[in-house]
């Protein structure tokens, strides 16, 4: 049984990799299995975790849960063409709640805290900081400031303003290049993991 599982896993692994060459029946088969099994997996876990676990078990204690169930039911009215427009109600409920919830969330964590963190001395008392730190601090302050200038929408990027915006986009480009380079290592680790599976677990080529 365990042996069979190993072969199934290897078959599917190679099926996905065959896509790198080009689309082919082996990939299509793996894809079809992937879609069917995973969609089924999600329905089942959603049903047991959310519907059974949260609503069915909890609605006695917390009658508010009925609100969710009613909204969910309204959603299904789409299937009845004549009153399908009612399904916009739960949709607008979700949109309103998402907008309200995230607005304050992003406000405090993305704006307030980041601004606060940027306020730091360029050099310490009596210039105690090393040249390395001073340069670093100046770079962070200048980079953040000019990056924000780049995002300004209501002013043409011209003159001194345009030059600052240019510096801003340079910083953003360095950020992107650096994060890209930094991620390569972890991506390779994933492949090493799969190769290990193929060569050692499946084929037994290495101990």
């Amino acid at each position: 049984m365990e042996h069979l599982g190993l072969w199934v896993a290897a078959f599917l692994t190679l099926g996905i990799y065959s896509f790198l060459y080009r689309d082919n029946p082996w990939y299509k088969l793996s894809e079809a299995i992937f879609i069917g099994i995973s969609a089924g997996y999600w329905v089942v876990t959603l049903f047991w975790d959310n519907f059974y676990g949260k609503f069915w078990v909890g609605h006695g204690e917390d009658p508010w849960l009925w609100v969710g169930a009613v909204l969910g039911f309204l959603m299904l009215l789409r299937l009845v063409p004549k009153i399908g427009w009612i399904s916009r109600w739960p949709l607008s409920f979700i949109v309103g709640a998402t907008a309200g919830l995230w607005m304050m969330n992003y406000f405090s964590s993305n704006i307030m805290l980041q601004v606060k963190d940027t306020i730091m001395p360029l050099f310490g008392s009596g210039y105690t900081a090393s040249a390395y730190d001073i340069v670093g601090n100046i770079v962070v302050a200048v980079g953040t400031f000019s990056g924000l200038v780049y995002f300004f929408f209501s002013k043409e990027h011209k003159g001194a303003f345009g030059a600052t915006a240019k510096v801003g986009i340079w910083f953003i480009m360095i950020t992107f290049g650096a994060s890209f380079g930094y991620t390569v290592m972890s991506r390779m680790s994933l492949l090493i993991g799969r190769m290990d599976f193929l060569f050692s677990d499946w084929l037994g080529l290495i101990k």
């Binding site: 689309d23 907008a99 307030m112 601004v115 306020i119 400031f145 924000l148 929408f153």
Partner: protein, 420 residues
């Protein structure tokens, strides 16, 4: 009902409620600041003297400010026998009695502890606390606190600055929306990725190939998905005009429903409701990589001329973008997840960086009201920039030459911008 009227109502309502909130919060702040404090009552000194160890002293129970009445802060001075070296105290046991019932142990604390927050209280019940210092074979009980009952409070005054700054930025957004509504022309610079949309749709039409739209892999409870869908609305309007084919495979059922509504309305607005079909949006699977496998399949088989990737993306960003690139599609991407932006920058033709994703639908609409909101955003940016410059300047001068009022300024700024 016309657009103007419909949005004036809510605007006024919103502003009015913000204003009332602010007034109430400033009026009640003085009242709220006086919190109830129960201190140790000297007459109630039921000291159980077990020789060998001294009790903790000055136990104070204090209501935690600005909460729902569900926490009480406790402070005390540790036992004099609780010393770093050679101390006798091994632990502190904290006891509480609810509404004059028998006291029960609610926490065990390490030596050296001098405070605790009890978050298991309910409003308007009466609580009395005492603490017992435990040592080997001996223990000492502190005096009891006076009865304290936590109260529910209606405003969190600690968040006043958060409220104030949110109010200023929201007011700026609303002000410019209103200004624009009155017909004042507002300048908004060109955004490269968005200028390209028309060309990208035109190209698909010429080539007779479909357009693929991916609204990210998260559900409707993520704000990036909403941004993606609002852009979908604008794009499908153009698509309907050009009579080109659009296909949006999605990974969430709710997104499927919302995307259908969005495209349908755009086709109606373009005067071509007959050209719309539910098949334009299909659900694939909720599973992240299962969805990626499906979309990759769609890409190589349908060979879209243009691919839009707008929404919340995770590791799959690069898989999708590279596959799209391999079939020769023009790709316009955008996300607010900083970790994935580098991959879009590398693999797509145009990328909307963070804020631009949220600005896109306003920009594309070309409506003055929507453009006004972008102008309001810029006010927020200006505030952030001024604070950064002033803050860095003040803290540097303050640190380097030890200037008193600069220290004060910095303390004040970081007080405002810490959100507690």
């Amino acid at each position: 009902m016309s657009i103007g009227k419909l949005s004036t109502g809510p605007t006024v309502l919103f502003l009015a409620s913000l204003l009332i909130g602010l007034i109430i919060s400033s009026m009640t702040s003085g009242l709220l600041a006086q919190s109830v404090i129960g201190t140790g009552d000297a007459t109630d000194s039921v000291l159980v003297e077990v020789p060998g160890v001294a009790p903790a002293t000055s136990l104070v129970a204090e209501e935690h400010k600005y909460d729902n009445g569900n926490s009480i802060d406790l402070y005390w001075v540790p036992s004099i026998d609780d010393q770093p070296e050679g101390g006798l105290v091994r632990a502190y046991h904290l006891y509480r009695s609810d509404n004059e019932a028998e006291a029960t142990k609610i926490a065990e604390l390490l030596p050296g502890a001098n405070q605790y927050r009890d978050e298991t209280v309910t409003p308007d019940n009466k609580y009395v606390y005492h603490i017992i210092a435990i040592s080997d074979g001996a223990s000492a009980k502190s005096i009891k606190t006076a009865p304290i009952s936590p109260h529910r409070e209606w405003l969190n005054y600690d968040k006043k600055y958060l409220f104030l700054i949110a109010l200023i930025i929201s007011a700026a957004v609303i002000f410019f929306v209103e200004t624009a509504k009155r017909g004042k022309k507002l300048f908004i610079r060109k955004i490269a990725g968005l200028e390209a949309i028309d060309d990208a749709v035109g190209r698909a039409t010429e080539m007779g190939r479909p357009i693929l739209f991916i609204p990210g892999i998260l559900d409707m409870d993520d704000v990036q998905t909403l941004a993606g869908l609002t852009i979908l609305g604008r794009i499908s309007r153009v698509i309907a005009d050009y009579d080109c084919k659009i296909y949006a495979p999605v990974s969430r059922s709710l997104v499927m429903t919302a995307a259908r509504e969005t495209i349908k309305a755009s086709y109606q607005a373009a005067g071509r409701p007959d050209a719309y079909s539910d098949d334009m949006v299909t659900y694939m699977t909720d599973e992240q990589f299962g969805y990626v496998a499906a979309v990759d399949g769609v890409m190589v088989r349908e060979r879209p001329a243009t691919v839009f990737l707008l929404g919340a993306f995770f590791a799959e960003s690069l898989i999708l973008a590279e596959t799209g690139n391999s079939v020769g599609a023009i790709q316009i991407a955008g996300t607010a997840r900083p970790a994935q932006l580098p991959f879009f920058i590398a693999a797509c033709d145009f990328t909307l960086i963070g804020e631009e994703l949220f600005a896109a639908s306003a920009y594309l609409s070309g409506e003055p009201m929507q453009l006004g909101s972008l102008k309001g955003q810029d006010i927020g940016k200006a505030i952030a920039m001024v604070v950064i410059v002033a803050g860095v300047f003040a803290i540097t001068i303050g640190e380097a030459w030890d200037v008193g009022f600069m220290h004060d300024l910095v303390r004040w700024l970081s007080d405002i911008f810490s959100t507690k």
